[in-house]
């Protein structure tokens, strides 16, 4: 706030001063290897060694040093070292010129990319066109990929996208950490099984899978409110533990209440079907019709949720996330809005559960383990909390990666790469792949300490400064 920290750098001039200064300069000089640049080189070489070891040959029981010997002498090591050296050279020596050229081009507004950007910003029709093109691409996507990737799209990507959209409401917008999201997914899936008459216990009347969706939504809504009402006054870590506990309860019920859920043996569920009299259709083994159905659900939910984000509800969520005390003092009913976010997230998860059960045609308790809650959360954080395109992209990439690696690395190593990607991402780009603007600002303010709240309270300080912001 005030300029009092400058004193150590000034002074020390004069006959004795110069000698002292030379001494100080000698002491202050750092050895070349202590230069951060070379520290980074050393770190990258370490990465190269580990990388070569990890991607190289597997070990054998007979010779414990076999893998290490092979990998440290083979060509793999040199490839890794070369690649890392290249990264280092580019980062340390070519970064500034490239960044300069980029920013000059950007400021001048020249360059084809910049011109495209301005046109893009100015014309909303163009954006609509691009969105339509994207949608058309997504509709024809199943025709362009193999059966294996169709299955991945339907069984994993589309389901997790549905889940991630729901979790984004809770974590990204309302700022509550929910580690038990899959519990509601399970409730949705078991609702589908129950109301289609697939569980050991018969329902009062059987329903079509589509008709189960509103029931599952209401069930999850009630479950979400029942869990949320007493616990939403907790903040951060405590809420995370409560939701984790809730997940464990639901999972253990699914596993151990065999007379109702079928436990680990599971239950087979009817698949989707429509019978309107004049038109009937039965979803079968082909994954593509499910994909289009899921795409429909996703687009519908996105339209609803984007409206919500830019409304009083979305703004109230942001206010609560940023400063709950100020929000309450302004008149925002914080508990009610948090409960709303929780219930919306839960019911989205429930819809995903119905879709999942009706696609697979079979569920058991092991589909609903805690790991999946953590995975969904990591997809949301990886993509960018609070940002719809980020969440979609993040989910798609993080599911695509292990599937892609299936053919290139040993199967049991796949999730190691996923973990490494998450670690690197959180260090270098904590805001996520495609962050929301509000979140980026919050992160900036937290880093620079310029959040309004961090400003001086300045009780009776004489006001002598000009009109500029004290910082």
């Amino acid at each position: 706030m005030t300029a009092t920290d400058n004193t150590p750098t000034t002074g020390a001039a004069g006959p004795i001063g110069s000698k002292r200064a030379a001494e100080a300069a000698r002491l202050r000089r750092t050895a070349w290897y202590a230069n951060p640049r070379f520290k980074r080189l050393a770190a990258l070489m370490g990465v190269a060694l580990v990388g070569a070891q990890v991607t190289g040959e597997q070990g054998t029981n007979r010779d414990i040093f076999h893998a290490m010997r092979e990998n440290m002498t083979g060509p793999g090591l040199w490839l890794w070292v070369g690649a890392c050296l290249l990264i280092w050279v580019v980062r340390e020596f070519l970064r500034a010129p490239v960044a300069n050229a980029w920013s000059t081009a950007r400021r001048a507004g020249t360059g084809p990319a910049e011109r495209a950007r301005t046109v893009w910003r100015r014309d909303p029709r163009l954006r609509m066109l691009a969105l339509t093109a994207l949608l058309v691409f997504l509709i024809v996507l199943p025709f362009l990929v193999s059966r294996h990737w169709q299955q991945v799209l339907v069984d994993q990507i589309a389901i997790y996208v549905l889940l991630a959209i729901g979790l984004n409401v809770v974590v990204g917008w309302a700022g509550m950490l929910d580690l038990g999201f899959i519990a509601f997914f399970a409730i949705g899936a078991y609702s589908a099984a129950f109301w289609t008459g697939s569980l050991p216990v018969a329902p009062p009347f059987e329903l079509n899978n589509f008709a189960v969706i509103p029931i599952a939504v209401i069930t999850c809504l009630v479950a979400g409110v029942l869990l949320g009402a007493p616990t939403l006054r907790l903040r951060g870590d405590y809420l995370a533990i409560v939701t984790l506990g809730f997940h464990e309860i639901v999972y253990l019920m699914a596993k151990n209440w065999v007379e109702f859920t079928g436990g680990t043996r599971g239950a087979s569920v009817d698949r989707f079907s429509i019978d309107l009299g004049f038109f009937s259709y039965q979803w079968g083994l082909d994954p593509r019709p499910y994909y289009w159905l899921q795409l429909g659900f996703i687009v519908a939910l996105l339209v609803l949720f984007i409206r919500l984000e830019h409304s009083r509800v979305g703004r109230a969520w942001t206010a609560i996330r940023e400063d709950e005390v100020a929000a309450a003092a302004t008149g925002v009913d914080t508990v009610r809005f948090k409960l709303l976010a929780f219930a919306i997230g839960a019911s989205t998860s429930g819809v995903a559960g119905v879709v999942y059960a009706s696609k697979l045609g079979f569920i058991n308790s092991e589909f609903f383990i805690v790991l999946f809650s953590v995975l969904v959360l990591s997809y949301v954080i990886f993509g960018g909390m609070g940002s719809i395109p980020g969440v979609l992209l993040g989910t798609a990439i993080l599911i695509w990666l292990p599937e892609f690696l299936r053919d290139t690395v040993p199967a049991q190593d796949r999730y190691m790469y996923l973990g490494a990607l998450l670690v690197i991402m959180m260090i270098y780009r904590p805001q996520g792949l495609w962050p929301s603007r509000r979140r980026v600002r919050e992160l900036h303010m937290a880093e620079e300490g310029t959040a309004t709240r961090a400003m001086p309270a300045a009780g009776g300080r004489p006001a002598t400064t000009g009109g500029d912001t004290p910082s």
């Binding site: 100020a326 302004t330 309004t452 400064t465």
Partner: protein, 321 residues
């Protein structure tokens, strides 16, 4: 709905039953934190439509009183009675903060608490929208009344921003505004809830003389044009003396004086609280001195005698248990 309340706030109550002349009354409010008594049987009556300033050395319990009034703290004893213009009586002690806000009490914070990552306009819109009742489902479906509510809140937020003179900064991020503008934005956010009683916690802290002057004018306009009663905590004595109708003085959680600015300035108990005079003679001497200085510097806007005195005393005040 929002516009109706505004119009109601614009005109002084007319027709029907005359509203009770006392808008807020605290009796025996006592707040303790463990062994520390922050507020000690505070009795305070605030008249409708007045500007009441609360002064006192640091740690005297001024902000604790605000927090007790707005539901952030729960005082152990006492009653806080609020009488809305519409009639009736509301007990504020133990109410949730958002309920207090809905009854018509709005506040600002000593250390500014804006939603920094939102734009200035959005900050105000949040406050406007706490008075709306549009449900999430109609918003998601984009029903006409939800769209209308959104337009209303936009219009109303623009109005409030114009009132406080920030209409040129509406699309700036709240965190990027200057300190004085942030103070003004906080007042705008409070006003957007259409309060009958506005609680300002040191609105002039950290602002420069020009901003102080603007602020003084703004507080007067809020009081006269909008008909809002203002409860003001402030250390800047010049501002307090010029803007307040009455002044109440707190010291160690107790109300030691109340009256017009002139009365309070001459009160020996007040002078003792601020200057720590040990015996009455000295207090009298100091009072004379203060009066003389005040007369001497009456035309000088830079002279802030009381404020300087407050700073001299402040350290002792904080260290006392």
């Amino acid at each position: 709905m929002t516009t109706e309340t505004k119009r109601a706030a614009d005109r002084p109550a007319e027709g029907g039953a005359e509203p009770h002349p006392t808008i807020l009354e605290t009796s025996g409010v006592t707040l303790r934190f463990g062994g520390l008594t922050s507020l000690d049987h505070v009795d305070l009556a605030m008249r409708r439509g007045e500007i009441l300033a609360i002064i006192g050395p640091n740690g005297a319990g001024k902000t604790s009183l605000f927090n007790s009034l707005t539901g952030a703290y729960l005082p152990q004893e006492g009653a806080i009675t609020y009488r809305p213009r519409a009639g009736g009586e509301e007990e504020l002690r133990g109410r949730k903060p958002f309920r207090v806000s809905r009854l018509g009490l709005a506040r600002t914070f000593q250390n500014i608490r804006l939603f920094g990552a939102l734009t200035a306009l959005e900050n105000v819109k949040i406050a406007v929208e706490t008075r709306q009742r549009t449900d999430a489902v109609s918003i998601m479906l984009g029903l006409p009344h939800a769209r209308r509510a959104e337009r209303d809140s936009d219009r109303r937020a623009h109005e409030v921003m114009r009132f406080v003179g920030l209409e040129h900064r509406i699309n700036e991020l709240a965190a990027s505004l200057s300190y004085g503008e942030q103070r003004r934005l906080e007042i705008a956010r409070a006003l957007a809830t259409e309060p009958e009683l506005l609680l300002l916690d040191e609105p002039a802290a950290g602002t420069n003389p020009t901003e102080k002057h603007d602020l003084e004018e703004l507080i007067r306009r809020i009081n006269t044009e909008l008909g809002v009663s203002v409860l003001l905590i402030e250390h800047d004595m010049r501002l307090v003396m010029s803007v307040a109708d009455r002044v109440a003085v707190l010291n160690f959680g107790r109300k030691i004086a109340e009256g017009t600015p002139g009365q309070v300035q001459r009160d020996p108990a007040v002078i003792e609280a601020y200057l720590g005079a040990s015996d009455e003679e000295e207090a009298e001497a100091v009072a004379d001195l203060v009066a003389d200085l005040d007369a001497e510097h009456a035309d000088d806007p830079e002279w802030r005698g009381g404020d300087r005195a407050a700073e001299g005393r402040s350290n002792d005040g904080e260290e006392r248990p």
